[in-house]
């Protein structure tokens, strides 16, 4: 049962990572690429983390996996906003 959940969620995570990369390559401009990747890859990371959590041997490991995902979300949210604004400012100044 746990193995089945791991299989399902990690596969889903891989799909989102692939989707993020396709968006990063295919989308036409900086801002839509930014939007493709900050959402898709963090969803992918979340599913992979959830999948691996089913294999964890202790609650401490589950807590650490959860912390990793929360930190990644925090970083992605802040970075996406700041880099988008920086790209906008550079265009204005250029």
């Amino acid at each position: 049962m746990a193995d089945l959940a791991t299989l399902l969620f990690t596969a889903l995570g891989l799909v989102f990572f692939a989707a993020g990369t396709v968006g990063l390559i295919r989308f036409p401009d900086t801002f839509s690429r930014l939007h493709a990747l900050t959402k898709a890859d963090n969803l992918g990371l979340g599913f992979i983390a959830l999948g691996v959590a089913f294999q964890a041997e202790s609650w401490a490991q589950v807590a650490r996996i959860a912390l990793i995902w929360v930190l990644a979300l925090l970083a992605a949210g802040a970075v996406a906003q700041l880099v988008a604004r920086a790209a906008l400012m550079r265009r204005g100044g250029a």
Binding site: L67, L71, L74, G77, A78, Q81, L82
Partner: protein
């Protein structure tokens, strides 16, 4: 099946690392090389985990992916403002290529020539129970080869003094680095408030766990330096000036405690830096905590650079 997939994973990782390394030196443009170098640090951390060297992976993740990136990007930003970045991309730096190639060849030769070490080495396995800690890396760094670690902690301090020599006379009493500012209540300021407490927890955990698990003074200190830097960059805390007594104390705390422990060993246990068997664990933990404080402050100050008042070029 599992072995074949493990091999494929290693092959994919190697291909990415080699590709990124090539892109760092072969591509035109300073900024592209800097970003590829950051990516190289990320992938190298994964490779160290693959090689079962979690201690090294922790250091690589904190230094390579964290501090070095900030340092190089700040340097590139400064070059760009000085309009000097373009001049660096011209021509093939043959001397650097030759030196790099020679070093790679020497390392390759050494890899084939050196005997493959037995893990973790019979002498180490025999001596480990007497070291006072369960993590073999910590045992080597702070007990068996403490001399190297002591000198390294002093080298870091010397490097910082070298950076401070670049300060201008008029800026001497100014806070370290450039005056950082951010929009109050903005994303950057908020991020600089949320991340450091979590980072403090992770850094302290790494030092504490370092006695028996992967981690230690250097890994924990680097994480602390990095989150402290985030707080400074976000304008949440103001860095001190060079002469602030409390911070100077923090800089020398690690080497000082280490030296005192070494001298105590010479008096009590019959040799400089020899830790008496019964006291090895408390002695190592004390040295590690003191070293962590010094490493964290020294690394953060190194990245901040010498004091520069506003308007400096």
């Amino acid at each position: 099946m599992t072995a074949a997939l493990g091999l494929a994973l290693d092959a994919a990782l190697c291909a990415l690392i080699l590709g990124v390394a090539l892109a760092v030196v072969a591509g035109r443009g300073v900024f592209r090389a800097v970003v590829f170098f950051i990516v190289y640090g990320l992938l190298a951390a994964v490779a160290w985990v693959r090689l079962d060297a979690v201690n090294v992976a922790l250091a690589e993740a904190a230094i390579g992916a964290g501090l070095t990136g900030v340092l190089l990007l700040a340097a590139h930003g400064r070059l760009r403002r000085a309009e000097a970045a373009q001049d660096l991309a011209h021509g093939m730096p043959w001397s650097a290529a030759l030196a790099g190639g020679a070093l790679a060849a020497a390392l390759g030769w050494a890899w084939f020539e050196m005997p493959i070490p037995v893990e973790p080495g019979p002498e180490l396995a025999e001596a480990l129970p007497r070291a006072g800690v369960g993590n073999p890396v910590t045992a080597v760094l702070l007990n068996f080869r403490a001399w190297d670690t002591l000198l390294e902690s002093i080298v870091l301090l010397a490097a910082l003094i070298g950076v401070w020599m670049l300060a201008r006379e008029g800026d001497w009493r100014e806070p370290l680095g450039r005056p950082q500012h951010a929009r109050p209540g903005g994303v950057m300021a908020g991020f600089g408030r949320v991340l450091p407490p979590v980072g403090l927890l992770v850094g302290v955990w790494l030092v504490w766990a370092g006695a028996d698990h992967p981690g230690g003074a250097f890994q924990g200190g680097t994480v602390l330096a990095a989150v402290g830097l985030v707080a400074v960059l976000a304008g949440v805390i103001r860095p001190p000036w060079i002469g602030a007594p409390l911070w100077q104390g923090a800089l020398v705390l690690g080497p000082a405690v280490f030296l005192l422990a070494g001298i105590a060993g010479a008096v009590l246990a019959g040799g400089f830096l020899t830790l008496p068997e019964g006291f090895a664990k408390p002695a190592i933990v004390t040295i590690e905590v003191a070293l962590t404080v010094s490493i964290a402050v020294t690394l953060a100050f190194l990245v901040l650079g010498p004091p520069e008042a506003e308007g400096a070029g």
